[in-house]
């Protein structure tokens, strides 16, 4: 059975056609990969020897106790840690097979391709519409009237359009927390990222908003690759195909979510997913 068309596909014909149509067919299967990534601040290692590959179009959850290096890992992937005092790194991060630190790589372009959503909503001090298009403007992707179109498309994409269409030029700070986070998601999507890093994106939201945001995440693949740091194990199970568990700066476990939660290989994982620690 072909999973997209729902029809029998015994000879693999549909699959091969789909492959030809796939604009990403000539790119590496793994959009992001780390190789022996070790990160420290001021001589203190926070991440140790992390090697992992993230297949394009998948959702990977990152779980682990506080201080285990989850957020550091995430923030290293779009080079947000580069300017933190005492930042040191060994090993590498490959974006489409190319190091994100290679001389030919433009930092701003890396961040455009690897977007980020933060723990708490962080709208900019400008109108709702300007928030959505701020990145588009900065990268010179669109201008003038096009910006209005971009704003509408992205606000519709995150399901915020009807709520804000009459106050596009109003303050984003009057929106609810959940709406603000959706606005920030629209803003991140507007620059057309390939990977979206989500750092506990719903930890500041109520259950209803969380549900809305989670539902939205699921519509973003396979166009995007998502990496979600979460303390909410239920969320990890609901959202992700693969799960990484960090423990004390090391990647203790990485595998299909069902396996990590069902038959964990590492005893620390077992204790963590059963709620015995963390």
């Amino acid at each position: 059975m072909d999973e997209i068309t729902g029809r029998p596909d015994a000879d693999g014909h549909v699959a091969s056609v789909l492959r030809t149509l796939d604009p990403d067919r000539d790119r590496p299967t793994d959009v992001l990969a780390t190789q022996h990534l070790t990160v420290g601040f001021g001589g203190q290692a926070v991440l140790r020897d992390v090697t992992v590959a993230l297949p394009r179009g998948t959702v990977t959850a990152i779980i682990g106790p506080t201080g285990s290096g989850k957020s550091t890992f995430l923030r290293t992937l779009n080079r947000m840690n580069d300017r933190v005092r005492g930042f040191e790194r060994h090993g590498d991060v490959l974006l489409d097979g190319e190091s994100i630190w290679s001389p030919g790589q433009d930092l701003l372009a890396v961040r455009r391709r690897v977007g980020m959503l933060f723990q708490r909503p962080n709208p900019f001090p400008m109108s709702i519409r300007d928030n959505v298009v701020s990145g588009v403007r900065a990268h010179g992707i669109a201008r003038g009237k096009q910006l209005d179109v971009v704003a509408e498309i992205r606000l519709r994409e995150v399901g915020l359009w009807d709520a804000v269409k009459d106050r596009l030029h109003g303050s984003p700070y009057r929106l609810s927390g959940g709406q603000q986070q959706l606005l920030c998601l629209a803003r991140a999507l507007a620059v057309g990222p390939e990977v979206l890093l989500l750092d506990e994106p719903t930890s500041a939201l109520d259950p209803m908003s969380t549900e809305a945001v989670e539902a939205l995440f699921q519509t973003l693949t396979p166009a995007l690759t998502l990496l979600v740091v979460t303390h909410n194990l239920g969320q990890a199970r609901r959202l992700s195909e693969a799960t990484m568990l960090f423990y004390d700066g090391q990647l203790a476990e990485h595998g299909a979510t069902a396996q990590v939660f069902g038959q964990p290989r590492d005893p620390r994982t077992a204790r963590y997913v059963q709620g015995l620690v963390g």
Binding site: N78, M80, L108, A109, V110, R111, R112, G115, M116, F118, R120, N122, P123, F124, P125, M126, S127, S134, G135, A138, H139, G170, S171, Y173, R174, C184, R187, A188, V191
Partner: protein
């Protein structure tokens, strides 16, 4: 008892302001009756006969030939303050950015201290430095570079022509600007430190350059506060007396024809003319200085009210300081 005391205490500044304006108005009354609106538009500053000859105009006894018009003073006050703001606001914002983000803290900390110390330098010393050092330097080495390249066409010619000897409009404006940079810069620095990191990180994660983060996020976040700081500086510039009296050239009765000409301001005129005005037996000269003072107070109050309106409007997007 304490509540009553608190209420009375809040009335003190209000009462002082009202009393001050009332005294000025009473002292200025003869001048207002004689000159009327002509005081605002006239350009002469003539004390009249110094041999005791008097005449009666609108029921007020004044020296023969006395005629006062404050237009050049008003223009000079507004021009110098405008130049000061145009210079000081960008310099202060850049200074604040350098102090909060651009420089390593072991340099930024002592530098911030120096900036605050500059605010405490007596204005007479800055004026002296303006006359002896800054003015001559600008007139010899800077103004000619600008003035000689300006074509003689309307509007632009304001920036050309004779550059004088370093005492005049733009020198006064720059000296005032230097005096208010510490006020605006230290306030702006404190405001920048209050901007939460999260929106700035968000902007960086979106692929904005440092300059874009500053322009689109950090600065808008504190916009109303920066406007407030600028108004604080403007208030100082409008009322600054002695430094301007020293570097303006103190020429009464003319509006400078270009950016470099000699002129004077309301505050500088009051201090430089008070002595000779006291020799006017009819008291008319003092009345005219009082009216000038009343005008200055009016301008300062108007500027503050305008700033409040601007702050309210720019705060419409409501970036709440301390919230992320």
């Amino acid at each position: 008892m304490w509540r009553l005391g608190g209420r009375v205490a809040t009335l003190v500044p209000v009462g002082a302001l009202v009393f001050l304006l009332a005294v000025l108005a009473v002292k200025a009354w003869p001048a207002i009756r004689v000159s009327g609106w002509g005081y605002l538009t006239g350009s002469s500053w003539l004390p009249g006969s110094t041999y005791g000859g008097v005449e009666k105009v609108h029921g007020v006894t004044i020296p023969v030939g006395a005629h006062y018009g404050a237009w050049p003073l008003i223009a000079g006050t507004l021009q110098t303050s405008a130049i000061a703001l145009v210079f000081a606001v960008p310099v202060s914002i850049l200074t604040a950015f350098a102090l909060t983000e651009g420089l390593p803290s072991r340099i930024a900390r002592p530098l911030g201290f120096v900036v605050e110390m500059v605010a405490g330098i007596p204005s007479v010393i800055i004026g002296l430095w303006g006359v002896l050092v800054l003015g001559p330097f600008l007139a010899h080495d800077v103004y000619p570079l600008i003035a000689t390249h300006i074509p003689n066409v309307p509007v632009l010619s304001y920036f050309g022509g004779s550059v004088g000897y370093g005492e005049g409009l733009v020198t006064s404006g720059l000296v005032l600007g230097l005096m208010i940079v510490p006020i605006i810069a230290s306030t702006t620095r404190d405001l920048f430190l209050q901007v939460p990191a999260l929106p700035q990180e968000g902007a960086r994660a979106l692929g904005m350059t440092d300059a874009e983060v500053a322009r689109r996020v950090t600065l808008p976040w504190v916009r109303s506060g920066v406007i407030g700081a600028a108004v604080l500086g403007l208030g100082r510039a409008l009322g600054e007396t002695i430094a301007v009296a020293m570097v303006s050239g103190s020429v009464l009765g003319v509006v400078s024809p270009n950016l470099y000409g000699t002129m004077t301001t309301i505050a500088a005129t009051i201090v430089s003319q008070l002595d000779s005005a006291a020799t006017d037996g009819t008291g008319f000269a003092v009345a005219n200085l009082a009216e000038a003072g009343l005008l200055l107070a009016g301008i300062s109050i108007a500027v503050n009210l305008a700033a409040r309106a601007i702050v309210r409007r720019s705060g419409a997007l409501g970036a709440p300081v301390g919230r992320a």
